[in-house]
């Protein structure tokens, strides 16, 4: 792991789980998998604090454990999963666009709690939705349940590995840690539950007392009495599936911008049909016949069969190879090419890193630098003189830009010796772009950027802490006064407690924090593109 990744993981853990969890996570990330005792010693925390932190981290799938042959349990941090915390808003928003409010809240609850049983998730979401509804109305469990089932069917959520049925003899001591496992087939099977009920609205005023009385009664009855019907079956969000969705989205929009709306709809339909049959990391979808595609087009599109065939032919012929023709049965079978190898030709659209790299150059170094870069991408290898000529940039400037890019690892020099003795005067020196190296470099920069942004945001909040506290107090006073029906004049007086300049300061702070947060989201989009590219390229045999 690079320092930049470590630092970012650290900040994410601290911001979402507190410093104790951060310390434990840090120790695991920096020193590798270790048992509990070493963790306690290393972090200097109390044993109970470390245990609590580990429980939290395991609950959220950020740490996994393994029983070693000697019997001790080793814990290992999952750095790539920790980095995904940055993407939570995007997952939740996507769920909203696909499955509406119930979908959004279900994914949010699962992300907030790491994993939940279905019964618990449905209940929580129903309660939350009820809160937002008009007085007297409640959200029924069935609607939330059906959304849950749809999320499972389309693989956006999956079952967690379960505790195995213990087949040991009762005499043998139980293992120090359960070996959780799950069968591939079981992962999306929703248990047959009849979840009946409606969301509960929290009563506004007497809420505290009522809650207490209820809790007391429950305790007296012996605690949470029945075990829920789906005891032991937990669900988690399937991040990989969301990633696949993002890739598909990027592909569809690339087609739309290159061709037209209809062709992008065709590609979108093809991708939708192969949603669950395409293994993540596969380079093509399964072949689909044009008849099947025709049948699956969305209702609003009445294009004739021949027109569809023409579109498919056009897509297959396009040099960017979005769609490949794989056979002739059923009116012609087609696949969508989901990933591309490093030997791709000129400027392919997202989700490939080239646009990000070009944009980086454009914004940091200027349009001429970007021009040189695109030239090198197209021509692969060029000599210094050729760069000047093709790019139509004066020698001095071209030199300067090439060296800057060289020092940033965006381009590299390739030696081609003319003679066996590699004499410098008789060797070609060619500039070239190593896309993989450039992508890694940019990714590293992105991690650093987000970490810097987070630190700056925390700094801004810290600087204005006094003012923020004051403003919160004023709001609390105002709220209570309004509840008890105070007069206009009194309310005004309280409002005046915050002076004009102070309000200004708060406004500026809010604007800055919003800007920084939005930037973090933006950088995460680039991180996704780069990570996908690097992952798909390194996977290819």
């Amino acid at each position: 792991m690079t320092q930049a990744e470590l630092r970012l993981c650290s900040l994410l853990l601290q911001e979402h789980f507190g410093e104790i969890v951060e310390k434990v996570g840090n120790s695991l990330l920096r020193t590798g998998p270790r048992p509990l005792r070493l963790l306690v010693g290393d972090t200097g925390l109390l044993p109970d604090q470390v245990k609590k932190a580990l429980c939290v981290l395991i609950q959220h799938n950020l740490v996994r454990y393994e029983v070693q042959p000697r019997g001790s349990v080793e814990y290992e941090a999952r750095s790539e999963r920790i980095l995904r915390i940055l993407r939570y808003p995007r997952y939740i928003y996507t769920a909203k666009t696909l499955y509406g409010d119930p979908g959004e809240l279900l994914v949010e609850e699962l992300l907030l709690h790491g994993h939940l049983p279905m019964s618990s998730a449905v209940a929580r979401v129903a309660d939350r939705l009820t809160e937002t509804m008009e007085d007297g109305k409640t959200m029924d469990y069935t609607e939330v349940s059906s959304t849950f089932v749809r999320l499972a069917d389309t693989h956006f959520i999956q079952r967690c590995p379960t505790v195995p049925e213990s087949l040991q003899s009762p005499k043998a001591p139980p293992p120090p840690a359960p070996a959780l496992a799950i069968d591939e087939k079981e992962m999306y099977v929703v248990p047959r539950l009849s979840l009946v009920g409606k969301g509960k609205r929290r009563h506004s005023c007497n809420e505290e007392e009522e809650g207490e009385h209820k809790a007391k009664r429950q305790k007296q009855e012996g605690g949470r009495s029945e075990t829920p019907p789906d005891d032991g079956i937990y669900w988690q969000v399937n991040l990989e599936r969301f990633h696949q969705h993002f890739r598909d989205q990027a592909l569809v929009s690339a087609v739309a911008s290159r061709m037209d709306q209809t062709s992008s709809e065709v590609v979108r339909t093809m991708l939708r049909m192969s949603e669950v049959t395409t293994a993540s990391g596969a380079s093509h979808t399964q072949p689909l016949s044009s008849n099947e595609i025709f049948r699956s087009l969305p209702a609003g599109y009445n294009i004739g069969k021949q027109v569809l065939d023409q579109y498919l032919a056009l897509l297959a012929d396009d040099p960017l190879e979005f769609v490949g023709k794989s056979g002739d049965s059923g009116g012609g079978t087609y696949t969508v090419k989901v990933t591309r190898g490093p030997g791709a030709s000129w400027a392919p659209p997202s989700p490939f890193p080239h646009p990000s790299l070009i944009l980086l150059l454009l914004h940091r170094f200027g349009s001429r630098c970007a021009r040189i870069f695109r030239l090198l991408l197209r021509k692969k290898h060029l000599e210094q003189k050729q760069v000047e000529d093709f790019a139509m940039i004066p020698a001095k400037e071209a030199k300067d830009m090439l060296y800057r890019m060289l020092s940033e690892n965006l381009v590299s020099l390739q030696e081609i010796p003319k003679t066996p003795d590699h004499a410098p005067s008789r060797t070609f020196y060619l500039y070239t772009v190593n896309v993989m190296a450039a992508a890694r470099m940019l990714l590293h920069r992105c991690y650093k950027s987000v970490a810097n942004l987070m630190e700056r945001r925390q700094h801004e909040m810290q600087e204005n802490k006094r003012l923020l506290d004051k403003s919160q107090r004023v709001e609390a006073i105002l709220a209570s006064m309004q509840a008890t029906g105070a007069e206009e004049a009194q309310l005004h007086e309280v409002e005046e407690m915050l002076t004009g300049p102070e309000r200004q300061q708060l406004e500026t702070l809010k604007r800055n924090v919003n800007k920084i947060d939005a930037s973090e989201n933006q950088v995460d989009e680039t991180i996704f593109v780069l990570e996908s590219f690097i992952e798909s390229t390194t996977k290819r045999p």
Partner: protein
Amino acid sequence: LSMAGRGRGRGRGQMTFNVEAVGIGKGDALPPPTLQPSPLFPALERRAAPLPGGEEGEYMLALKQELRRAMRGLPYFVKPGAPRRDIERYSDKYQLSSPVDSAIDWNPDWRRLPRELKIRVRRLRKGRTTSLVPKKYVAVDKEETIKKLESLEKKEEEVTSEEEEEKEEEEEGKEEEEEEYDEEEHEEETDYVLSYFDNGESFGPDSDDNGDEAVY
């Protein structure tokens, strides 16, 4: 790759490769050598592009901030225990329980976690010395019943710690029995009772020996 630049400072003009091929002509002025690390905040040569706005961006921004706020309130946000006060104060009794190190505020499914991570939660009571007697080895999921002054207290939940039993067997006794308040709304109701039976013994996090001491 940085070597391409490095060579320029020393031995002007002498390099292992033909400089003309790379583009440095004869007699060209070379840039001055760098004598200090690059500045912490280098001047921006051009402004950054504006952030993409739009409904999607706005919504995700709101989501992000809401998530951050929500997670701080969840029990997964582990706060350090209240620091030890040097003097017991009367008001301590009536304060809402501060976060306590060895209490776990949510109910994980212990079946899915390594046994060593189980934390014991026990309600503190007066005359607790009797409970410190080491127990015999007990089975994992057995619930322990309250030992003292039960008639006035309500029933609590307890979770046993495997660690403790193993240690007792090994006679190390390093792990200390942390007896802390269960953070439940119960506390409010039992105030009256507590003060009625207050015999001056302290309770709460302050009185715990929070260290690696043997349990007698």
